[in-house]
Symmetry: C2
């Protein structure tokens, strides 16, 4: 089997399982998020802030994907939110089979918002549908404004882009207009949010977006 054929096989197996996951999520009436971004862009911090605001309104379950350690799930559990840690032990992305495996003991009809944090990587996870309803890419003002055009695949398939660490804007050389223009150039339908997980700025509109998306999806099911 050639390398290209094998890659196609891996992708097609993933897509089958992603479709199965999605049917299961739809049946349960939950909203599923796939959160992607570089290491240290603030994915876990965003989930912490989101869980703090929304946990009184929606029943949340978090799946944490990491190469190693249980640290991120521990951070979420410290807030009283259920979290499952999936360690990939070297693999650079989550796939749909890993998500299914993580959720096999879970009663999904008790979950309203399923947040899956992918492995910190701005390239490989873009190629793997997990069955999510919304794909969210997290960027940060510390990373440089050229990232959307240097890593276009990640932005191309996303529904929303959350630009984190806007509290650092006075201290870093970052052009927010350039960043957003680059993101929109890659994907004109992308919803853009500017937030700071440190100060809490911009978290409210982001959480409203999630709540509206949940309501819309839930009503569509009826």
């Amino acid at each position: 089997m050639s390398e290209i054929k094998l890659k196609k096989d891996v992708r097609s197996r993933n897509q089958q399982q992603a479709d199965t996951n999605r049917r299961l999520f739809r049946k349960s009436g939950l909203l599923a998020l796939n959160i992607l971004g570089s290491p240290g862009s603030g994915k876990t911090s965003l989930i912490e802030q989101t869980a703090r605001r929304l946990s009184s309104k929606l029943r949340i379950l978090v799946v944490e994907g990491d190469v190693e350690t249980e640290r991120d799930a521990d951070r979420i559990r410290a807030l009283g939110i259920d979290a499952i840690q999936f360690q990939t032990h070297g693999s650079c992305h989550l796939d749909a089979m890993m998500v299914a495996q993580s959720l096999q003991e879970v009663k999904l009809d008790k979950v309203e918002l399923l947040i899956i944090e992918n492995v910190g990587n701005l390239i490989c996870p873009a190629g793997f549908d997990l069955g999510e309803d919304l794909r969210i890419v997290v960027g940060s003002t510390a990373e440089g404004a050229d990232k959307p055009i240097k890593y276009p695949e990640m932005y191309l398939h996303a529904d929303a882009c959350v630009l984190n660490k806007i509290d650092l804007l006075p201290y870093v050389d970052f052009n927010i207009e350039e960043f957003e223009a680059g993101a929109r150039q890659t994907n004109e339908k992308l919803r853009l949010f500017r937030i700071s997980c440190t100060t809490g700025s911009g978290i409210d509109p982001w959480c409203e977006y999630l709540q509206n998306s949940y309501t819309k999806q839930h009503n569509n099911m009826r």
Copy 2:
């Protein structure tokens, strides 16, 4: 062919080419660096600072690996330094064949310091020897202090770790001792540098390290 067998084949083909590259580099008497790190950790900024300090002492050639765009090579050329851009068009790491291909038109005996900037990715590039003499991982204070223990492969095979953006320390929640302890826990021989590409702090000891490494290597050849 199974997935595991294919991966082994890819690695072994890479290792053969990496050994060829290394022999060629040794014969030319140059010092070759493989610079790795997350997107936005400051790899290109570090190369800019390094080139500014060392270009009067060493003849430098930079190879820029990126998923897309010629931007990083343009940044280096703007300093009057020779740079070759290699676009991987989706691939998440450089391999030894890409480096050989980038250098096929180059007279290596005219180069003293070869700096290869890998694709921004804290996972996949760790598995691919390019034939470098020194492997350098660049981290940043904006990324979080837990990165060495969450992405251990990257630190395990590195010779030095450059912690960038120390000018942001007053504004971010980053424990520098925790970061360095995590890095040393993974790899006790790791040389550690604390720098800021914005203020220039710490660049001198880093450049001394490179110059000493070059001299040592060059003397060993005689």
